[in-house]
Subunit: 273 residues, 2 copies
């Protein structure tokens, strides 16, 4: 099943636009889990088991696993495999923000889609849309391109004006022009820049937008949702990572994560009507 | 020892500006090596043993190892460890082209510098120089930022004009302005765009430039060297990957790689006088 269809089904089934970022940090997971074998996986498994009916997608960020070398990357693979086997209706985005020339991108596509068996991967546009073609050659896989990131320094290059049009809008237009009819092609827009998010929604029509920056990073839920929904009152995946997975820090951490996830799921839905 | 110093010493010792890209593909390595344990590492080891006196730096691209999951990444780690232990005077760049927001970049920095024990890493500027600060917090490590890539589609965004100044020049100016006095900060410029390379040399002064795109990608050696040398007749690392490591395809592949590397090392030096 193609990524877009799997995502749409999960949005409907769980009545959710919530994406949980599975970004475990060994120093932040509950102490009783830090000593077990494969602690990152053990932590994720608890979070997943307690939130699987609340999300439309999970999004582990590869950086948090790579930090531990092959021991960490193995646990990323175990996490993806666990979701695929136990909750096969829930799609998985590997947040890797990769971007290289063609033959190198082929290696990254194999990492995300063949080794990790993810449904989608995030990529960087700086080398041009042409360089991303090897990702698009993968039938049914989701390709999610950064347009405007959520970090404080995002404006430095992304908002430079080309004949009065900021770079991020040109990136959005190029993507929509080339892949706007491919539902598996999506984009990333940070919630911390709501005006820019609204502008890009007008540019890309009903394309699906992955939105980080809510929660710890401080983006407003109401502003974000009202501005970013597409004409079907959906078309967004609202990501939260730290504010959910680290909501608790002891034995009941997964229950606290569930409460945080459920609150956010409902708060998002309030503004969908 | 800081990356810049290690690199300068190796340039001098081997009289070389040649960077060999260790980008093994299982389908392209000699058949007799495809069946051994850790074939990518075994291939790299032969190449390294035959070329260690001809290079100023080695540059494995993480993508070619990630393609094989943890089995591949383990061999990338073994390759870095082999160079560090056997040829400790030769620096290693992990070509990973990473780029995320701050706390995610911390994970990538750990991957490159703590797990792989590399001397330097390549990064992507799209999220702004601010997002790269966690890399610069690593004392003595090299941070090599993509300015203009070598691929056919590089122009799409990198050459958009902001008040008549193309984006890649603004990126180069921002890097030189913020980190031009840090010798461990370097940039990437593709040899396939020689005019742009010359323009950036004028912008960044004597900063060191990593130059891919010679060899299989077709950049001219003479044009590239004449245009890119700094005022000290150095300040460049000229990368070649496929044209060297796949110069041969049977038992004598490493000897053929050595011949290709030696030819390129000499051809580069011809234009340094």
């Amino acid at each position: 099943m193609r990524f877009a269809e799997k995502l749409a089904n999960c949005v409907k089934k769980n009545n959710s636009l919530l994406c949980i970022g599975l970004d475990p940090e060994i120093e932040k997971i509950p102490p009783f889990l830090q000593e077990v074998e494969n602690p990152l996986f053990a932590f994720n498994k608890e979070i997943i088991d307690k939130t699987h009916d609340l999300v439309c997608v999970y999004k582990p960020n590869s950086a948090f696993y790579e930090a531990h070398g092959v021991l960490g990357i193995k646990q990323l693979q175990m996490t993806c495999e666990y979701i695929n086997s136990t909750y096969p209706d829930i799609p998985v985005i590997v947040d890797a923000k990769r971007g290289d020339i063609g033959n190198s991108n082929e290696g990254y596509a194999r990492y995300a889609f063949d080794y990790l068996q993810a449904d989608a991967v995030t990529v960087n546009p700086y080398l041009g849309i042409e360089a991303l073609s090897v990702y698009f050659n993968r039938a049914d896989k989701g390709i999610i391109i950064i347009v405007h990131s959520s970090n404080p320094g995002a404006k430095e290059f992304q908002e430079l004006s080309i004949d009065t049009t900021p770079l991020y809008e040109i990136v959005a237009k190029d993507i929509a022009g080339q892949y706007g009819n491919n539902p598996d092609c999506m984009i990333v827009m940070g919630a911390t820049y709501p005006q820019q998010l609204g502008q890009v929604r007008r540019i890309v029509g009903d394309m699906t937008i992955l939105i980080p920056g809510i929660g710890t990073q401080g983006g407003s839920i109401e502003d974000t949702i009202r501005i970013s929904l597409n004409s079907q009152k959906q078309g967004i995946m609202v990501n939260a990572s730290r504010s959910i997975i680290f909501a608790g820090s002891d034995q009941n951490f997964a229950e606290k994560a569930r409460n945080a996830a459920e609150n956010l799921r409902v708060n998002i839905n309030v503004f969908r009507v």
